[in-house]
Homo-oligomer: 199 residues x 2
């Protein structure tokens, strides 16, 4: 075989992308180390050079994802908090804006969204490899939303759960239906309905 030696970081990123794509299409047990390797133009053993086992591929992807997400979401929230401190607490408009930007991130990367949707469902089982990861992630998201809604909703945790549920569900419907409706508009209108206007 033609032996092409790639920059390790480039190859790692390539594997990361391919794994997200294929895992989103076929699920964890649906993919094969071999097929993933093929898509990366690398042999079976070549792939295992980067991740010691198939399990570690998934865990590695989640790990990397977490890192990248932190880099994006944290500043987003910080910016919102900044604006908020100008006024008094998080205003309704500000929260709506923040929520919208989260969905925009989803809409911008359908492959990533599909990966999350599929793996999240597969990881429902307590003994799934990634159960803890998605559990923690979900708990943090609900906590975050509840905090944002502290002064805006009578029952912040309940409303937070409703918003997260809507996020999951709309994303999935949007993906299944070939994105044949306006995701952002549907989201905005639901969010506006779920977060009562101050009066």
């Amino acid at each position: 075989m033609a032996r092409l030696r790639e920059n390790p970081e480039v190859r790692r990123a390539q594997i990361f992308d391919a794994a997200i794509l294929m895992l989103g299409e076929q699920g964890f047990n649906g993919i094969t180390v071999q097929r993933l390797a093929q898509r990366c133009g690398v042999s079976n053993a070549g792939l295992l050079h980067y991740f010691p086992s198939k399990d570690e591929i998934l865990l590695g992807v989640l790990d990397e994802l977490e890192r990248r997400e932190a880099d994006i979401v944290v500043p987003l929230i910080a910016a919102a908090a900044d604006k908020a401190s100008e006024g008094a607490g998080a205003s309704r408009g500000l929260v709506l804006e923040l929520l919208r930007s989260m969905l925009e991130r989803f809409a911008a990367r359908p492959d990533l969204g599909r990966f999350l949707v599929v793996m999240q469902a597969e990881a429902l089982h307590r003994e799934h490899l990634a159960n803890a990861w998605f559990r923690d992630r979900e708990a943090m998201t609900i906590d975050l939303f509840a905090d944002l809604l502290a002064t805006l909703a009578a029952e912040p945790r309940r409303t937070a759960r409703q918003l997260v549920a809507l996020l999951y569900g709309l994303g999935q419907i949007w993906l299944r239906g070939d994105r044949d409706f306006d995701l952002l508009a549907t989201w905005d209108s639901a969010v506006a309905a779920l977060i009562p206007e101050r009066r």
Copy 2:
């Protein structure tokens, strides 16, 4: 091995139940014909006597599910339609009631709910065995909801999608979190917020 000859319909039902349970836990590619057979107290070949292949197991389960669902949902809607005809069109209260009863069905069978959530996500890919089934089911659900909302919402299809999304998402969060919140109450409050009151 002890050869226990079971009534075919009983065995079929047993396989159906076991398949729903295991598919919900481990996904389609996560289960094995052998393990499913074991749980049914039958040999590998014994199971294949009922379904000619692994694929047919899933398709058979979906088929059976559809049949049972029709037997439940259709009368439910018919009853609502009956009540509606007494007044003028579907009233808001009636629709809320109908939606609630759908979620009650979900809550009553967590194993079935998990099966649907997991398979639905795995079937997102166009080439998945069950893609068409879930596509059709989703389209029908959205159509049904939109019809119910025809006179209640300014944009019935949009609101319908929001409700379906909420149904998916809340179900999943509820299952992942060990059902540690009041699903029905959370659903009711969201539905009430999403379907505007007539004025």
